[in-house]
Amino acid sequence: MSATHTFLDRLEERIANRRESATTPEPSWVTARRQAGAARFEALGFPTRRDEAWKYTDVRRISEGDFALAQDADFSPSTAATLVLPLDAIRLSFVDGVFSAELSDMASLPEGLGVEPLSRAMSTNHESVGGSLGRLAGVEFSPFTALNTAFADEGAVIRIGSGVVVEKPILVQFFSRANAQPVMSHPRVLIEAGARSQATVIEHYVGEEDAANFTNVVSEVLLERGAILSHYILQEASLQDAHIGSLHVDQGRDSRFTSFNINLGGALVRNDLVADLNAENAEANYYGLFFAQGRQHVDNHTLVNHNAPHTFSNENYKGILGDRARGVFNGKVIVKRDSQKIEAHQSNANLLLSDRAEIDTKPELEIYADDVKCSHGATTGQLDEEAVFALRTRGIDEQTARGLLTLAFAGEVMDKVTLDTVAERVERAVAGKLPERFNLGDLVDVATADQA
């Protein structure tokens, strides 16, 4: 029996056990969709290195794993407190995929904003979810999207009404526990941003140091006319976790989507970002940073579809790879015929801190219109030894000098991060994760103090 079948059978059995205890039956459309997802996953199977989109990423860590389903959301609040972002935010929390009311804070939502777990949205009014869910992330997209479609039963539903400006960031926290047996979860995130609304959503993946779970998340984002959304993925999962995620964005006229895709954790990480710019003046900005060490593997695939004229996209990804870490960047921009006067820029720069670290980077442009302004480029290099020398001649020890230069490399992307707590967290994480830990924290402080 193939790994795909074993995996599927086990999962179906476990899901069935869980559903037996459910009080209300599932709506029929959900069942139909699950069946379609499962069938598609079965037909596709786990991707192999022979699949072009998975050429560099081996998923056997997942396909050969035996993952249970979490039975509860028990998590010590004091442990959680050490992991969460110190932000004044609206919080929605999941522990190994299970909703935790205790760790959530959805009190006093502003008028016109809905934030709730998927299970609740479904039981309140499943039809209100049915229209959007799965509209952007079809089962065809990848075996993992199909798998998620088949088994997702929890997640976040965020609905921002027309004209609503949400001041506080909306923080969706995914905690991964150090379980006796590894678990998997298939969370689904749905964000609907009404016309001219404005909000910041953070998906934060974090967990206990010894966690070794598998998260397979799918997020769908619908931006109506003029909506502005900042979206963060801050992935700080444990170094044994497997994290697969795809984010699908549909952009209406005059909408602006800014993505920060920051990956610091995980043993095996794959992110897919897809934005469809469907009407004039829609703009997508993709900023990415990945920092991998040890034997971490981080794969980022991004796609921007310029489906309408006068649309804009801008992408800047930075990768830092140490030890024997492996990174993959594949950034694709497709400009449809008749999508004239579009602008698309893309760049990926990578820094290799060790001889054994590896990066495969591939920017791809497919342009079927003639009046366009496009640029793309990828570079891979090491730290500038002249700069290391220059810093050392000022009395700065070698490790600190290398740390400063590594932070500097990430800086171009981090400067775009408007949430200071996130930027600082990343700076400290990068500084702290450098070989031979050292403290650059006070440098970060002094620069901020002077700017204030």
Partner: protein
Amino acid sequence: MLEVKDLHVTVEGNEILKGLSLTVNVGEVHAIMGPNGSGKSTLSAVIAGKEDYEVTSGSITFEGRNVLEMEIEERAQAGLLLGFQYPVEIPGVKNIYLLKAALNAQRKARGENEIPAPEFMKLVREKLAVMKMDASFLQRAVNEGFSGGEKKRNEILQMLLLEPKLAMLDEIDSGLDIDAMKIVADGVNSLRSEERAVLMVTHYQRLLDYITPDYVHVLVDGRIVKSGDKSLALELESRGYEWVLEESAA
């Protein structure tokens, strides 16, 4: 203070310094002049610890310590500081990070505590004023997009903050207009004291009008072939290097 003895240095198989000796005592200002490619920058870079250079024989001591056995950063912490002929641009590293990290490294090496942020800012602002530099330079990446003159001023700014015992200035005057030259010279002169010394490489008498040297050395083909006082620089200015070469060959 600084003792260079019979120094031989090879770069990629070529011998650049061929038995160079030089002594600098505290309180003194030395100028090194010489034709292009004679080894002036090599000398200061070797003292600072640049790794591409191989010292095949000879010695360098600073206050009695064997410099060649010290790490690059240790040399700086001991008070040996090099102002580069071509300061490197360090994108993304703010000037203020560099200054703070450098000052604290020096204090740590001396067993002192880190400087509190307000005190540090006050000190930096004071030094900026001496160099007539705007505070906005602090938030800019080290030397990135700086004009030639601004880069040189930035080098001296670092010196003013770190107060080296021996400042080595490699062509600190090149690329400076006359106003900038005065500012840089004022900065260097403010470092002069009974406890410190300055070693500067230059091609021009002009700088020496502002920073009067006690000694002038002529470096030709890896060796110091003539030393004298400030009048030697004037003579070089009017007569060039030919006569020195002929004299030393004789």
